[in-house]
Amino acid sequence: MTEINKVIFSNHEDAASASIEKYISSGGYSAWKKIIQSSDQTKAREYIINEVKASGLRGRGGAGFPTGKKWSFMPNSGKQQYIVCNSDESEPGTCHDREILQRNPHALIEGMAIGGFAINATVGYNYVRGEFIGDCYPQIEKSLEEAYEYGLLGKNILSSSINFDLYNYLGAGAYICGEETGLLESLEGKQGKPRFKPPFPANYGLYGAPTTVNNTQTLATIPKIIEKGAEWYSSMGTEKSPGTIIFSVSGHINKPGNYELPLGISFNELMDISGGIIDGKKLKAVIPGGSSTKVLPADIISKCTMDYESLEEAGSALGTGAVVVMAEGTCMVEMLKRISRFYYAESCGQCTPCREGTGWLYRILLRITEGRGQETDINLLIDVANRIEGNTICAFGDASAWPVQSFLHHYFEEFEFMIKNKGKSKAA
């Protein structure tokens, strides 16, 4: 049996896990303190970045870009630089960052401090999803206060020459602010509309200054990597996808929830850990990495291991690790309509194809499910999706197109059936 909850969720079961005392008693902030006490800061920076590179940690926000490499892009401009944490967790199906903010906030704070130090950023912002105003935000605010009380943040930390100030910032509830440049715009007080890239944030980020944006889970992993070493971390997972990732398993599953597991475990084992399909039903399909990744039918996903390479090979992606499980009987047309409605509602409206196309996709799907579908609608759906894909400033356009493309690729006959039968679902 695979061991679960080794890194970020190592103190997961403890009710008081969020408190700073608890965090420190289990080795927390030791990595940060070690860095503060280091005699040679330049060497310490090099050490951190090399260690993160060696750990093989990849960004957990969805794109999977190697974190150490991303940090190494940051210049030492001599001016103010920023580290920004993307806690705008909004990808449908994903809910692990929320749990980190609630249960292990100090891992994130420590991770941001270490990351900030490594990339010459003395100011950090934690951009928290607007909907987290009720539970996570008060917790992370309290934790930030604790960290300041303990002298772990601020100016001349623990009498060293190191400065790091951290601020939490509550978004206003927009999926697009999870796109890193949309997030930076929002953080600057503007509308959350992604910027055209290049320039990338490492050159032109927050307020035009060099900035690195990392995901919550990525940053919360850092302290343990520095504390226990890259070798320890990369000993988990596979060679190409080392370490652990939190899977947010949802859908027709007996024990939905967040499971921190080594990368590369088989899909079937993940199903066992999360209690199997409800009512003993058969698996129909899985969206393996959040709603914007492509859907995989049961026969394909069952042969997959849960890592970057395997899922990519199968034609999808690991994404955020949000595993949406669909049992037999699920109507794929209804499912796609629901997903498309989300993208229709969340498009920022900046680029023409996405602004106009997402609404068009949704309305076609709506009329199919309402029994008003036309024979030409399937080709139209594919064509509209193809015309959005790759033609927009940010990846949102792609994210809205991929589900349409993959659902129609794998479940064409369900759409055809529904159109012919005036809204009757083939799955029912």
Partner: protein, 719 residues
């Protein structure tokens, strides 16, 4: 400096092009067309319309030409299937929610969406779902909105932020429900706001007064120069059936770029006001009765020549009249021994006349203002006086030029101001003097004793004066005065201070003047103390003295009492003059009651001529098409008058080249004046207010209905 070159291939042809350019700039220069909506060369890059997507051989997705810098080895295929697919996709998306109301849309025929739809659109739409509609905002009397037509290119929004400098509209909402709007419903009041009409590629923002009047393809286009301020903005008159239908900017990168002010755009409506003077009139039995033009001219000249005391004849001519009219008019007066001639009806301090330059000028080209590092503005509400010159100053400010201001009112500016020396009107001169004094203390320069003595009598400069003076030293700096200074009781002193300050700090300096042709009025001799082209003459009475003179005959050429700073004095002169002769495009109560001879003239929109702008650029215009009435050209009226008066003919054939030579020579020989006005002005009892706002500055603007409906025109005059 050598520009780095990169080699790129466009449609199979290799080019070596300068680095650090966007692809669309390169293709535009090479004449390869890439379609676009959001891209505009004067605005920042938005890359949001996605119309300019083109295929690059090494890149998976099509790239936006407007936002992709050229790089070595790029292979661009603007006509390939992939490029076309991407562009056709964008066009389809743009059209799905766009209303099919082209037949009633004013943009029809000059619509970028319509044009590109012919090239990239389909014959029929695959979108059979209900189209989105969006609510329209009331943006005031100048701009109409049909927001359902909006394609969200955000040119107007970027214009507000980047060019106008005071964002008045923005994008609201997200996704399909995104709209362009004012945040809380309000009008758009910026003096350059009309430019968003031209920027809007579709019919969402349009010219409200022009709405539903004509189709664009029926209009003729005539080059012209705006007659309302001294910038000399280049414009096109769009004309149908000899009537001006609208005014749009004509590109002139060294004067107005692609912009014009709302005043330039909407003022022409004033020429169609009901009180146009259409017939020559003469007063008989206290009634104005029709006469012929020739009768009018002969009556005028006969009376003029019958008056023995030439000092009791006075003439005022507008600085908004063309240079040719001014020249002929001043010649007509000179030939009849009339030396009381002036155009300066907005000036009350004439003590510095002897120190006057040959003509007032900014002394540097408008497009060099943007390169300044420090600008001091003295006595000017510059945004209202000359919106286009204010725009050039904003461009300097965008480059971090330090701007300091001395003025009597605290106005809103579209650029940051370092020191704002808010000063009572009567203290503008003193504050200027204190900056001179501060500059003197910061510099080691020799100055004549009497100036040092004069400065020593002033009080000590404040830190703000010292900081302002310091900002002019050792940098590319520019000191500029405006209409408020010209109105000032101590105008001559202010101007001398500025001259001394600029020679002390090696700054450029200059003056913003009234109307389109104050410089022309100086050169043509429409001043009491100099004849045309700077020649000396017997000094006559200035405008203020004329108003207080016992006039047997008063001739007003294109001047109304409302144009005048000392309106009360002028009205008294109108009432008391034995014979009042008016050459005027418009009638008003004073003329109806007191004019003895009325000779109607055309406005600058209808006649031909030239203006000399604030930087000494002479620009000619010829409006053969726009005939408001069957009247003669103004120049011909004056030629006829000269003929009748048996005056020495004025050599007129090469007058333009002669004038240009004169301007060039005087510019080359600028002797910086470092003298103080001969007589220190004594505070007299004349109380004048700056009685103009943006939209009452001349007789045409005052009669323009759209402009008179704006918020700005409702602003009460300062007292």
């Amino acid at each position: 400096m050598t520009e780095k070159k990169v080699n790129i291939t466009i449609d199979g042809i290799e080019h070596s092009v300068e680095q650090d350019q966007m692809l669309i700039e390169v293709t535009d220069q090479l004449g390869v067309y890439i379609p676009r909506f959001c891209y505009h060369k004067k605005l920042s890059i938005a890359a949001n319309c996605r119309m300019c997507l083109v295929e690059e051989e090494h890149t998976k997705n099509a790239i936006p030409a407007c936002a992709t810098p050229v790089s070595e080895g790029m292979v661009i295929k603007t006509k390939s299937k992939n490029s076309q697919t991407a562009q056709q996709a964008t066009m389809e998306f743009l059209l799905i929610n766009h209303p099919l109301d082209c037949p009633i849309c004013d943009q029809g025929g000059e619509c970028e969406l319509q044009d590109l739809a012919y090239l990239y659109g389909k014959n029929s739409s695959r979108f059979d779902i209900q189209k989105q509609t969006k609510p329209n905002d009331n943006l005031g009397p100048l701009i109409s909105t049909d927001m359902s037509r909006c394609i969200m290119c955000t040119r107007c929004v970027r214009f507000g932020t980047e060019v106008a400098g005071l964002p008045e509209i923005g994008t609201m909402g997200r996704g399909e429900s995104s709209t362009i709007s004012t945040f809380v419903e309000s009008s758009i009041d910026h003096e350059l706001s009309g430019n968003i009409i031209d920027l809007c590629p579709v019919g969402a923002l349009n010219n409200k007064p022009y709405r539903y009047t004509d189709r664009t393809w029926e209009l003729d286009q005539i080059d012209s120069i705006s007659p309302h301020d001294c910038a000399g903005s280049n414009i096109y008159l769009h004309v149908k059936n000899n009537l001006i239908k609208r005014v749009v900017p004509k590109v002139n990168e060294s004067i107005n770029e692609t912009w014009i002010s709302d005043r330039d755009r909407f003022a022409f409506d004033g020429i169609y006001s009901e009180d146009r003077a259409n017939h020559p009139l003469v007063r008989k039995n206290n009634e104005l009765t029709h006469i012929s033009q020739n009768e009018g001219i002969s009556m005028l000249i006969d009376k003029l020549q019958a008056i023995k005391d030439k000092n009791s004849i006075s003439a005022l001519i507008s600085p908004a009249s063309s240079f040719e009219e001014q020249l002929l008019f001043s010649h007509l007066m000179a030939e009849n021994q009339v030396s009381n001639i002036d155009h300066r009806v907005n000036q009350i301090d004439f003590s510095g006349d002897a120190l006057d330059p040959l003509f007032p000028s900014l002394n540097i080209p408008l497009n060099e203002i943007k390169d300044m590092d420090s600008i001091l503005i003295i006595g000017s509400t510059i945004r209202k006086e000359t919106p286009i010159i204010a725009h050039w100053i904003k461009k300097a400010a965008d480059r971090n030029c330090e701007i300091n201001i001395i003025n009597h009112s605290l106005d809103e500016y579209h650029f940051p101001i370092e020191n704002y020396l808010l000063s009572e009107t009567s203290l503008i001169a003193e504050n200027t003097g204190l900056i001179v004094k501060a500059a003197l203390s910061l510099m080691n320069k020799e100055f004549p004793d009497h100036i040092l003595e004069h400065l020593s009598k002033l009080k000590e400069p404040s830190p703000a004066h010292i900081k302002t003076a310091n900002s002019l030293i050792g940098k590319k700096s520019f000191v500029i005065s405006g209409l408020v200074a010209r109105n000032n009781k101590y105008y001559s002193l202010i101007r001398s201070y500025i001259d001394i300050l600029s020679s002390m700090t090696d700054s450029s300096s200059g003056e913003i003047t009234f109307s389109a042709n104050t410089a022309g009025a100086y050169i043509s001799g429409c001043i009491p103390h100099r004849s045309s082209f700077g020649r000396t003459k017997d000094i006559g009475l200035n405008a203020l003295q004329i108003s207080n003179n016992n006039n047997q005959m008063l001739i007003l050429y294109n001047i109304e009492p409302d144009d005048c700073l000392f309106k009360d004095e002028l009205c008294k002169a109108i009432e008391s003059a034995e014979t009042l002769v008016v050459f005027t495009p418009f009638m008003n109560d004073f003329f109806n009651e007191h004019a003895d001879i009325v000779i109607p003239i055309k406005t600058p929109y209808e006649t031909c001529g030239s203006f000399i702008n604030a930087t000494g650029v002479l620009q000619s215009f010829n409006h053969g098409l726009v005939q408001q009435n069957s009247l003669q050209y103004n120049q011909d009226i004056l030629f006829d008058s000269l003929d009748y008066a048996k005056a020495e003919p004025l050599p007129f054939e090469d007058i333009i080249s002669k004038t240009q030579l004169f301007i060039a020579e005087s510019k080359a020989n600028i002797n910086p004046n470092t003298e103080l006005p001969s007589i220190n002005p004594i505070a007299d009892t004349l109380e004048c207010s700056n009685n103009y706002n943006l939209y009452n500055i001349d007789s045409i603007v005052r009669r323009s209905q759209p402009l008179q409906l704006t918020k700005e025109s409702k602003i009460e005059p300062e007292s």
